[in-house]
């Protein structure tokens, strides 16, 4: 697993449509998700799966992490989806409509079988679980700790809102409980957390506000449906120069004062102590991964 890797954006690509998968790397998302599930018409599931396999095998996605959203476990499609994705060399499998830890474990077992069958290093294919129902949210911690393959958990708001009898609102109040519970589970389990898609592509300000909110809550990234959402999300998730400078000051000041036995001190006008160091290091790691910090403090 590569927990330090940036996964600010994961863009869904409808694998049924050749034009959408042939060059999506030009938009430079952190991850792409070749979708075999909801975006693909039932009669084209086979075509999308074979297109996905050859896209994985033949096209150079230039280091962008490639995920495959397989069909749900209540279909008769997911087993072959897993075989094709592993044979093609996908970095990960995204499981939709995950409800229990057993769901993940079943997929992990099938992934392991496919790794053996197609001569891929066993244990290298990651799994991500999408939580889309009240039961899934209640089971979030069990799901998040269900397998060493599990890289992260993601909220999927469409089905969640429907099953909660809630209405989608601009501010997303109806998702507050799910987002909080999912984040708590992810952080307690030590896996990554991803927010749902923002579907109103004609409301860029609404998208900006939502990305800022989920960044502040603690999410690692957002599922995207439009290339227009990628740059905006990356900008919001990249610490600005002021934040990077402050983080450096915090780490340097705490280190310098540790030897003197000083526990609490003032940095850039703010009171800080040892508890601030972890957050400061996270800021610098994020900046370093995004290329805006080249120092040696992390």
């Amino acid at each position: 697993m590569t927990p330090e890797r940036l996964r600010r954006t994961m863009i869904f690509l409808n694998t049924q449509r050749a034009a959408l998968v042939k060059d999506a790397f030009v938009y430079q998302p952190d991850c792409v998700i070749f979708d075999l599930e909801d975006a693909v018409a039932q009669r084209e599931k086979d075509a999308a799966r074979i297109q996905m396999y050859h896209t994985l095998k033949d096209l150079d996605y230039q280091g962008i992490e490639r995920w495959v959203r397989i069909n749900a476990l209540d279909s008769d499609l997911f087993q072959e989806d897993i075989r094709a994705a592993v044979a093609g060399g996908a970095e990960g499998i995204r499981l939709p409509k995950t409800e229990t830890a057993e769901d993940v474990q079943m997929v992990a077992d099938l992934v392991a079988q496919a790794e053996v069958a197609f001569n891929r290093p066993v244990g290298t294919t990651m799994v991500m679980a999408a939580l889309e129902s009240p039961l899934a949210i209640l089971n979030a911690y069990e799901i998040a700790t269900s397998s060493p393959r599990l890289m992260g958990i993601a909220l999927s708001a469409g089905d969640y809102t429907r099953t909660m009898h809630a209405k989608r609102t601009v501010k997303g109040l109806e998702l507050f409980g799910a987002r909080s519970q999912l984040l708590l589970a992810a952080r307690a389990a030590g896996v990554m957390a991803f927010d749902t898609v923002y579907t109103d592509t004609d409301n860029p300000q609404g998208f900006i506000d939502e990305v800022k909110m989920i960044r502040d809550l603690g999410f690692d990234g957002k599922s995207c449906i439009s290339p227009k959402q990628i740059g905006i999300t990356h900008d919001i998730f990249t610490p600005d120069p002021k934040e990077v400078l402050h983080a450096q000051h915090v780490i340097q000041a705490v280190q310098a004062n540790e030897a003197k036995g000083v526990g609490v001190l003032t940095v850039d006008g703010k009171m800080v102590d040892i508890a601030w160091v972890e957050g400061a290091k996270r800021t610098l790691k994020l900046a370093k991964a995004a290329g805006s910090y080249r120092g040696e403090l992390v």
Partner: protein
């Protein structure tokens, strides 16, 4: 494996190809129409013949309308038509597709 019936895969959208595969008794016939025929017609036919060899398709009429598809899409559409024509949905030997 023998083709059981005619099958179609793909679309006429840009960057895609539509392929109609039908069984016959007299060898392999490829009828290609392509928006890039002048530049890539020969290469596309060679690619389709290569896929046919890999799938052991020896007797078939293959009608292809190419709208500028990449090689990976041309391969995928022909293979999709093939698996539909033999009614195979699972246990595909993925490693044999290249």
């Amino acid at each position: 494996m023998q083709l059981k019936h005619k099958a179609i895969a793909g679309t006429l959208e840009s960057s895609d190809a539509q392929i109609i595969l039908a069984p016959n008794d007299g060898g392999l016939h490829i009828d290609l129409t392509s928006s890039v025929y002048e530049q890539y017609g020969t290469q596309i036919k060679q690619l389709l013949q290569q896929v046919c060899r890999q799938l052991n398709i020896e007797n078939a009429n293959i009608r292809v309308v190419d709208k500028g598809a990449l090689d990976c899409t041309l391969k995928a559409r022909l293979e999709t038509a093939y698996f539909r024509a033999i009614d195979q949905k699972v246990d595909i030997n993925w490693e044999a597709l290249s």
